[in-house]
Symmetry: D2
Subunit: 385 residues, 4 copies
């Protein structure tokens, strides 16, 4: 084993930190409050070529792996941008992976260079209200229309649907009861004539909307099918581990941001004649959070290293996500508590981190389903659900 | 001991529930989102005479005790009104207690009947940004001006300042270094010519603002001094235990509201072919929350019984508040988790409960200070801060 | 409601405390180490008439209820006797309840006066290794032999089997697949010619053995059948709630003993120039434990009050047991931690409390099964197992 | 970074596992019960050359680093030997490190080859009852006696004192108030004429005694001083991080042993017609423990890598110890709970793991002191004690 941080990774972290320094907590607070997409921030990252970091060089990208993408996203989150910052770029950085892995040449040549340049915004349309975690129940339907398709149905929690030009859309092409084997993946246009997008009012991360999206016979050309018909779920499955790794990394970043503010406040704020950080009831939760965040980040790095080296990484990616979601929320919650009443005020930003850190315990998969995966698939315990 | 619920208490609960049924979760969600005070709700409670429940009958009130006030507030919270509903009436119900206990006749005769009728809104001006939990550091200053006073200074977290006509204001009348002994209590008018009120943007309970309030030589007539000069802190101290009891009761109500929604969702929502409530990872946190909420409510009831019977209740009031704040937040957090991604959406209301339940772990006193009180004052351990 | 402690209860607590003061921690530590039954202690309690407290006066008992029995057992535990002390008397105090409720006159007249006098030791033979929590799977078999019965089978975790003269034994009298409806209850002699008793080496509470008991065609006279044939499970069921109430009360007593030692040590022990109790990392877990133990004890008292007043008490008894088991173990664990390395040494007794407090999270029903009961039977969630 | 496990490490793990397979859980249970040192086990490891693994080759050792020593100890613990197995060899493996780092040639040549061969048992005499965590308060005194010394005083928690020939002894050579600067380190003989050793009865790990040791003018030759006079604390300080790393590794091993038994039981044991592992209340704590144990082990490996590469490792060693102690105890506690009542029986061994896993939260430094270190020395928060 070798735990040294490479020079390249240090350079990435420094470069991203420098860009993020231009967008302070007040920027994010303002956009969050105004429900406004962070275009300035996105464009600065795109200019720097960072949104294409994980796209191969032949398509104009940075040719780096998940390890580097994870570092970029963690650094963004840790700047105080938290999930608002990460969600703005997350899907451009990694969402087209199924196209890269399974797509035909025309798809790759048409879309990957634009994604690498940062001028293609992508949404991800998998989740449906009635199916929930059970993807086999997906009902959105793609029907053949000559060489093309027409898609009809309804998705939920489609992040960035308002800003995106295209959506990676999972739809049923098999029989109604075809389960996971009757699903296909499309890279469809979000054509306003056939697509109705409604933001879902939610607890936080309000600079980037997640939406209900209604597809009303959306026409999709044949070459927009990604990979094989009926293999859509498998194509997506391949990307679940990297997605968990990236989200784990983002979560640890939020935790770092929360700790930075909490430590500063605990040192500055004096009550009863001394800094409140001299109270173990303040300092111990912060110390515990630091220890757990470091462990979660190490777990994410190991999972990324395994993915980039083509080693099995299901246990590692899921474990990293589990640890990071717990540690991140605990850190944010401790940061709120450290600030006392001020922790509830927007001005100190920790309540924003706290609302955003809550997401990861729920999505893209709940902590409970992650434990089910570990118990059943890794430890060999019986299925419980 | 006798744990039976009296018929009177049952009648109170039923009456309040009936009123609250007119104001559903969507009402509260709308007002929270719009930062709008719940006038309709307040007026309905005032009509029914409920806001004066704890004011003596001689002043037109209900002549009931803290036990009944606690029940009213818990029932309001449990309806889904949560802290938005409780904070709208909390201070009219109990805030004038120092006036009742220590005030001169003119104060009592002028203000208590109006409070009992529900047409006097009261704010509470104690906390200052620099003093925090350490009340001895309060700097707002009341200076003699003939028979009257002029008050200058700055308070924070003054709830309902925007809607209130008067404020119970703690100000220093002694020397700068007079600590807790140099403070006096006034029932002052929130005269816009001398008072500047600024709502504090915050994480939740947004139907009722908490404010920074700047007092710029506010004139206060001499008879507006409550109790003795220099005894202001002691006069307030007397009300701390009932306040903790009421807040504990409110917290348990939020928890009940959260559990009701969580149980309904866990029974209705089917994933993988069965209701999600059949998963112990869903049901056990809810069962635990139910057990803990019941224990917290019993603790609050015991503390109220002791207060109403003139028995020492410091340990009981603080313990109730501690238990209720923990159980309430755990219940709300479990309710969010039960709803999966939907738990983050406003539509299901549990994220609102969750944001509001967070308050009680911070205010009016943090859980950590409550543990300090128990450790030092009740268990005889050394002071730690 | 009325939370006042009656004079009678105070007298009971004082009397038991006085007796227990004769048997200090070293007494219990010595017996625990030597695996020796506390005969001296038992006899002192019997002399005082305390073991018969819950047996009706007509049979020579004290005629008190569960509330008083609970108080006796809590006080014993709180003296430092912990489970070693409680288990020595527990079943004589309450184990014959099914005989009292459902037994024929001869059973009652023969055994209850002796139990009341303290010279009848009773064991409880329900649990079987293969059945576990699922009582419907019990295989011990009672076969008719003229007017009498012969019992054959194997029980586990039969506490005090070594010291007891009789055992309340649940055996199958119906078909092999008769489930809960084919069980009958007997008050059988532990006749050494037909009964083989083997203590189970275990983690703690070693002054009172729990045993595997092998019944080899044990003859039982007909009048020893308790209640109706085939109704044995129902007769036992009636006693489950009081048993949970008593065990909850015992658990809170252990917690009190642990806290007393922890607080004393935290005040006495000085490191870095001040008592270690001045550290919040020490004091806060103790304060939290105090709050939670008080809540658990109140819950147990409420459940006892309901039982004694013939009100439904399933939720209350189970909740009390759940709360008490958690609070008791947390208190004992915090007491160990307070003592640092000394917490692991026998000399300071907290490791003994800690080992004994662990039992209640497992028995007589696990915390998990208790949560299942609350979720399913009280909250209306689907069955999960 | 490179997270691959080297072939060498795999060979070490396999070799140790093979040896440990000769000593099953019943072996350890028997020795624990009998308070008997595991000579057979120790000798088998010594034969294989494993106890000298971290001693340089020039002294006949294996010349490996802390990473390899950690792996050996973790593997021993994970076999079910737990702390009984680890403590039997721990100090021979690493205890002479101060001699190696700071000792004169005669000390090294005399003792290191014997330690490498496994025939020198070493104890560690630092802790005193009155000093506790505050080493500056050590009172054991070494007085000059010509070229030699005489040592007088009392140590506590000296592990393996009964079996050891020599002890690394920290004694005051400066003035009474010389604090940390007046301490010196000796490698003294445990001469029965001057040394009285009394085992401390304790909660577990009973195959290896920890003792009170009374030194009554023990003569020590001059060359037995390790390093410089007055620098004894610094010489020991150097070894604190590796000690934490080794203990962290041992703790994770106990956790693995507990999980292995828990998973097997959860799969085998059927109640209510299905394996109990199908209950999430059983499986989720086990899955969580697996995730946390893996993270703790990775943290220990990183800390070891840093130590072996001469990089600062204070944060890493302390964090690993903190994580491992928490995860190990949680795993053992969950294993007990998984076994239900059987978890309390010695036969299933998990109660033994549970008792032994408790040690690490207390020693060699408590979790609370570890959090203090992280808060103050790493995060820059104020000192709290």
């Amino acid at each position: 084993m070798d735990f040294s941080v490479s020079e390249d990774h240090q350079l990435i972290e420094d470069a991203i930190s420098a860009i993020c320094a231009e967008f302070d907590d007040d920027y994010w607070s303002r956009l969050d409050e105004a429900h406004e997409f962070p275009w300035d921030f996105y464009n600065r990252l795109a200019e720097g070529g960072w949104v294409g970091i994980a796209i191969p060089e032949e398509f104009g990208g940075g040719g780096q792996g998940i390890a580097e993408a994870a570092l970029v996203l963690r650094t963004i989150a840790a700047s105080g941008a938290a999930m608002n910052g990460c969600s703005a770029v997350h899907l451009t950085i990694f969402g087209l992976n199924p196209v890269l892995m399974f797509g035909n040449d025309r798809l790759k040549e048409t879309f990957l260079p634009r994604a690498a340049a940062g001028d293609l915004h992508v949404a991800f349309g998998v989740t449906e209200a009635n199916a929930g975690t059970d993807t086999s129940q997906i009902q959105t339907r793609a029907t053949r229309d000559g060489d093309n398709w027409r898609i009809r149905g309804q998705k939920i929690w489609t992040t960035k649907a308002l800003e995106s030009e295209v959506v990676l859309l999972l739809a049923r092409t098999g029989e109604a009861d075809s389960g996971l084997d009757g699903l296909s993946l499309f890279l469809a246009d979000l054509d306003p004539n056939h697509v109705d997008i409604r933001p879902i009012p939610k607890a936080g991360r309000n600079a980037v909307a997640s939406c209900e999206v209604f597809y009303d016979d959306l026409p999709v050309e044949g070459w927009r099918l990604v990979g094989e018909e009926g293999k859509g779920f498998r194509h997506i499955l391949h990307g679940l581990n990297p997605e968990r790794i990236l989200l784990a990394s983002e979560a640890t970043g939020i935790g770092e941001a929360a700790l930075r503010r909490a430590v500063a406040y605990a040192n500055d704020r004096e009550v009863f004649g001394r800094p409140i950080g001299a109270n173990q009831a303040i300092s111990h939760p912060l110390a515990k959070a630091r220890i757990e965040l470091a462990a979660a980040w190490r777990a994410a790095q190991e999972a990324a290293w395994r993915y980039d080296n083509d080693l099995p990484c299901g246990e590692h990616a899921n474990s990293a996500k589990y640890l990071a979601a717990e540690a991140s929320f605990a850190a944010a919650d401790a940061a709120v508590q450290t600030h006392g009443g001020m922790g509830y005020a927007r001005e100190y930003h920790v309540e924003r981190y706290w609302r955003e850190a809550r997401i990861q315990r729920l999505a893209p998969v709940s902590q409970e389903m992650t434990l089910n995966f570990i118990a059943q698939n890794i430890m060999g315990l019986p299925r419980s659900y």
